[in-house]
């Protein structure tokens, strides 16, 4: 069964990230918060596409659902304040 920390590792292997948190414990449904400098200058669709790309074939076969929120480092920093 796929674990949340494995999904986290897959995302980080495929995409340079400042921060990734993944939750979910049923092996199929996951929730992620992802902060990456690669998101700068890209819209939400393009940001999510980068994450899907990092997960590649796993997105088709292993992961039923990945709910995500994506942030540029700047947007993330302003959220924390």
């Amino acid at each position: 069964m796929l674990r949340a920390d494995e999904v986290r590792t897959y995302i980080m292997q495929g995409l340079p990230c400042d921060y990734v948190a993944v939750q979910g414990n049923d092996g199929q449904h996951f929730e992620a918060v992802i902060v990456s400098p690669q998101f700068v200058g890209r819209n939400k669709v393009q940001q999510h596409q980068l994450v899907y790309q990092a997960l590649g074939e796993r997105m088709r076969h292993e992961i039923h659902a990945l709910s995500m929120r994506t942030f540029t480092p700047e947007a993330w920093a302003s959220m924390e304040n």
């Binding site: 939400k44 669709v45 999510h48 596409q49 899907y52 997105m59 088709r60 659902a65 990945l66 709910s67 995500m68 929120r69």
Partner: protein, 102 residues
């Protein structure tokens, strides 16, 4: 007509098209259910809902069409808008309402 061409025709023939699992009355997945609720909250009643579970060719083809591996998918005036997460974010910011009523 190949499946990509079928999808292109579908999304351009109607102003709002939602690809989902199940129907708006009986969604077969929580994310598809959320997508229909968001459209309802935006006051959209006359959109086209395509149940991908009824059409395996569309179910696979739609993933390639917008380079987006998950369902639901929302299209407005032929343009891919996003999946459930993006719909929710855009609804919360008021952006989706603007796009739908524009």
């Amino acid at each position: 007509m190949d499946v990509q061409e079928r999808i292109r025709t579908q999304v351009t023939q109607s102003p709002v098209v939602l690809y989902m699992k199940g129907s708006p009355k009986f969604p077969q997945c929580g994310f598809s259910g959320l997508a229909t609720q968001i459209l309802q909250a935006c006051g959209v009643t006359d959109y086209v809902a395509v149940d991908v579970l009824q059409d395996p060719e569309i179910r696979e083809g739609i993933k390639t069409y917008a380079n987006w591996p998950t369902i639901p998918q929302l299209y407005i005036k032929g343009e891919f808008v996003g999946g459930a997460d993006i719909m929710r974010e855009m609804y919360q910011s008021g952006e989706l309402q603007k796009l739908l009523n524009g």
